[in-house]
Symmetry: D2
Subunit: 109 residues, 4 copies
Amino acid sequence: MSDIKSLTDALLRFRDERDWQQFHNSKDLALAISIESAELLELFLWKGNEEADRQRIKEELADIMSYCLLLAEKQGLDVKDIILDKIEHNKSKYPVSKAKGSAKKYDEL
Amino acid sequence: MSDIKSLTDALLRFRDERDWQQFHNSKDLALAISIESAELLELFLWKGNEEADRQRIKEELADIMSYCLLLAEKQGLDVKDIILDKIEHNKSKYPVSKAKGSAKKYDEL
Amino acid sequence: MSDIKSLTDALLRFRDERDWQQFHNSKDLALAISIESAELLELFLWKGNEEADRQRIKEELADIMSYCLLLAEKQGLDVKDIILDKIEHNKSKYPVSKAKGSAKKYDEL
Amino acid sequence: MSDIKSLTDALLRFRDERDWQQFHNSKDLALAISIESAELLELFLWKGNEEADRQRIKEELADIMSYCLLLAEKQGLDVKDIILDKIEHNKSKYPVSKAKGSAKKYDEL
């Protein structure tokens, strides 16, 4: 079994043991992802680029990714496929010839 | 090779072909995760819980998870381990006996 | 009339001419505030602390504050009062003797 | 004195008594706005549109608006002007004839 599949299964098991499926509509899962992302962001507030606490980065990243896996599962999306598709899509938005060494957005390149 | 490892490798290859490693400090990766999460959230704005466009959910989820994988890699974190650790941690924060069927936060249970 | 009152009135007039009150429940207004805040954040992505475009900061700040004024109005909150109350509250959370020159959160002081 | 001016003055006084101006660069103020916005959002997580705690909405709105006022002041922006300008701008993006009763984004109208 793939590791994404086994992680998703572990998350679903945790959820179902608590009867939480009833709360996990797609909109609230999207809220949860934003909220956890802001908790990650807070670790860097008023700090230098590499000054956040690594233990807490670890926990917040785990939370964000867990809700992402749950939303992907709810939507019937294969995480591996959607990331590989997005990389392909970004290759045409950000061709190496234009994007190399530049932090500009594709519409400013 | 695991899924997560092969996705991370594809993301690093995409990044390095464009010389973008120089921009990818941990703080800005955390910003990118929050920004992409809000783009996901926007798909649900003024809408019902399941009314967002699935194609766009797919793309925004891919963006969020891509930056999460890049930040995990930068911090030397194993995504599988950190999610499994967090599930274990949450089992004690949210024991089935207290949390079943409740959407309350652990400190209100 | 106070500035805040006249701004709120202008926002309500804009909203009501478009029959948008029906969409403006408190939860979606909170989503809108988060989404606009992330658009502000994006202006700083991969950039130095003072490198964002001032014209766009202006527009995003206006959007965030507009939704804040609309949510305050919906909740029957007086913006001036709630900010002054919060400053008083923060004075005890962050006493000058402890907080001076420190960026720590109150629970780490 | 206008109420926005007097609130900004109170916030600056609070900040300067603690020597916090050194931390308040524009990028971190934008982070703070996003973080506080997500704290507001969290009050609605797994809840109906009007089920959040009003006392806590009050506090989070105050935090968001305080950081907005501080960023506006740092950028030399007049809050009243920028909101009135944005309303004018939105009048052309969302003409009543097209936008009435519709929650669509301007580029989908």
